[in-house]
């Protein structure tokens, strides 16, 4: 029992870091563009399928494949932004962009069904089956690799946001779009690149997700996006650090409940969301300004 609990906590923290990575893409996109990218879930699945295609057809190692899938997802993100998000303006922009993302998600899901079918596939490599012995339990290597990748990606995002001119432009745009434009920031470029980065990190998230989830289908996007949304709303939209904390908290709670009630484990996500929003509508780390209309 004790080993099960400690294993659940370890898996929750390590797996949570990967969810946090996907959620950061979502929260950055929200902060800069003021849109909720509900296609983030299917982007993760798309990233997973890209890794799958590379490993099946080119026999490329999953980690090496990331060198291809991350830039590929970045470009896909840019294209989607330019085609479908950027043209939407006006008073109803909020709901319009949300629906546009939903439509994009549907199209990607349809294309994935067409290319890969509806059967479960999973990503395999030597490190997905091997496991390490920690204290009194075993954990698949992929959890540690995923944690490492997430840590590297987080560090990169942090450096970009806080140590570069571009990052300063991103943060300025998050604070006030109009003022950012007035001081000469190319807001459109910042928005496009942020959307691209938010999509690119899903390639990493997708690869790890595909390896630890034990199988995925094009339909997995719905489950993912609802979790990711729960994480970013719980954290407070636009909060990068909050997303990390919320993701680790949620996945750990889910892993713990899973020991006793596997059927209801996922409900933890949504119940936590509902309960917290009842008492703190802006989320745990959100500012009130985010909620203002």
């Amino acid at each position: 029992m004790a080993s099960e609990i400690s294993r659940a906590i370890a898996a929750g923290i390590l797996g949570g870091s990967v969810y946090a990575l996907m959620a950061v893409g979502l929260t950055l996109t929200f902060g800069v563009l003021d849109i909720i990218n509900v296609a983030q879930g299917i982007f993760v699945v798309l990233g997973a399928y890209l890794s799958y295609a590379l490993s099946v057809h080119l026999h490329l190692d999953l980690l090496l494949g990331l060198l291809i899938t991350v830039p590929a997802m970045f470009i896909i993100g840019l294209v989607i932004y330019w085609l479908f998000i950027r043209p939407l303006r006006g008073a109803e922009r909020t709901s319009m962009t949300l629906l546009a993302c939903f439509a994009v998600a549907l199209i990607i899901e349809g294309v994935l069904y067409r290319e890969f079918g509806s059967g479960y596939v999973s990503l395999n490599a030597w490190y997905t089956s091997a496991s390490v012995h920690i204290f009194d339990f075993y954990l698949a290597d992929i959890y540690l690799i995923g944690f490492g990748l997430a840590a590297v990606a987080f560090a990169a995002i942090y450096l970009i946001l806080y140590r570069t001119t571009f990052g300063r432009a991103v943060r300025a745009t998050m604070q006030n779009r109009v003022a950012a434009r007035l001081i000469g920031i190319d807001v459109n470029r910042v928005s496009a690149l942020t959307f691209g980065i938010g999509t690119a990190v899903t390639a990493i998230g997708g690869m790890v997700y595909g390896a630890i989830s034990g199988g995925f289908t094009p339909n997995s996007g719905y489950d993912l996006i609802s979790r990711l949304l729960a994480i970013v709303i719980l954290a407070g939209l636009g909060s990068v650090g909050g997303a990390l904390v919320a993701a680790i908290f949620m996945t750990t709670a889910e892993a713990l409940v899973d020991i006793w009630q596997p059927d209801w484990a996922v409900a933890v996500f949504y119940l936590a969301l509902v309960i917290i929003l009842t008492f703190r509508p802006a989320g745990i780390f959100g500012q009130r300004a985010v909620r203002a209309q």
């Binding site: 479908f84 939407l88 109803e92 709901s95 069904y113 949304l229 949504y270 969301l273 989320g283």
Partner: protein, 354 residues
């Protein structure tokens, strides 16, 4: 909103009343003319979606709070009917009496959901409705009362197969017509004005004395009541309840697309959207055995509507047809007809190179 302000320019109130009467008459005789079960099957489902799209519009279209969780009410109504019909041993047309009850149960569910969700706005509201949807779907898969993933079967009425769909059709017509009537009433009422004030600027509306929470909640409960009834009728019609079909994420999207396609916040918009999109989608599904092609088409259509007709077909058309354009169109047509009658076009002679 601009679109609704322009609507009276396109057609007068008496004209739209006449149009509605003609439409209802056409819909009412439809199953008598097209007796093919496939056609009436299309009709039943289309009318159910017409009611749901209008009901969704009463809440989301009028108040501006975009709900992606109406499947919760649809599914609640559906499961209530499935369980109640089984437990109370109801069959045949007696089951129809459960519909208002199913609506009431859905409305009851809407109260706590609304009290939580309506405290937040915009994105957060949308996301929390999605969260409710997933909680509902998960519950349906895991609770004993819904039969879990093995689903529930409903009693099949022993009506003759030739006119089997007709009772469903007319009940759906009553619900749909009632919903549209309610939507007209609300739009013209003080309550409807309060809802639109909330949509345009909730804080200012509150400052002007609109009690936002009760108004929003009432709209949500009304909307949920109709959606629950429609879901109950739907499940009785298809005869089985499985969690993944009763709580279907595509359901919400289809309903939202219908309202957006026709014109969000207008009365006729969701009606038009449902009448065009639902048969189109069913036809596509019938043509293709695989689901993905209709899914891709559906998403592409959605994008086209959002990018090129962002406020829907009706408001865009209403705006485009300004009195000046109408007059020019009419004048142009009259001139063309006058020319034709004065100089009837000479058919090209045989063998002449054209």
């Amino acid at each position: 909103m601009a679109g609704t302000r322009h609507a009276p320019r396109l057609r007068s109130r008496t004209f739209s009343g006449l149009g509605a009467a003609v439409l209802i008459a056409v819909i009412a005789v439809f199953p008598l003319v097209f007796t093919n079960p496939t056609a009436t099957n299309f009709g039943v489902i289309t009318l159910i979606f017409l009611a749901v799209a209008s009901a969704w519009n009463i809440f989301s279209g009028f108040s501006g709070y975009l709900s992606l969780g109406h499947a919760v009410f649809y599914g609640t109504g559906a499961y209530f009917l499935a369980v109640a019909a089984k437990d109370w041993h109801l069959t045949g047309s007696a089951v129809f009496w459960l519909l208002p009850l199913a609506g009431a149960v859905a409305a009851l569910i809407a109260v706590p959901l609304g009290l939580v969700a309506l405290r937040v706005r915009r994105h957060t509201f949308v996301v929390i409705t999605i969260a409710f949807f997933f909680i509902a779907q998960l519950s349906a898969s895991n609770l004993a009362v819904t039969g879990g993933s093995s689903g529930l079967l409903l009693p099949v009425p022993n009506w003759t197969s030739a006119t089997f769909n007709n009772p469903f059709y007319y009940v759906a017509l009553i619900i749909a017509a009632g919903t549209v009537a309610l939507s007209v009433l609300i739009r013209r009422s003080r309550f409807g004005l309060q809802l639109r004030a909330i949509r345009d600027d909730e804080d200012r509306a509150a400052g002007l004395g609109v009690r936002a929470m009760p108004v929003k909640l009432t709209a949500l409960v009304l909307s949920a009541f109709i959606t629950g009834m429609a879901g109950a009728l739907w499940v009785y019609f298809i005869g089985e309840a499985f969690p993944q079909f009763v709580f279907d994420p595509l359901f919400d999207l289809a309903v939202v697309l219908m309202a957006f396609f026709g014109g969000l916040g207008t009365v006729a918009g969701p009606v038009l959207g449902a009448l065009i999109l639902e048969p189109a989608q069913m036809y596509l599904n019938l043509q293709q055995s695989n689901g993905y092609e209709s899914e891709i088409l559906f998403g592409a259509l959605f994008l086209v509507v959002i990018l090129f007709l962002p406020r829907g077909v009706l408001p865009t058309a209403g705006e485009w047809l300004t009195p000046g354009r109408m007059r020019r169109l009419r004048d142009g047509w009259l001139a063309w007809r006058a020319r034709r009658t004065a100089h009837p076009p000479v058919p090209p002679a045989e063998g002449t190179p054209s």
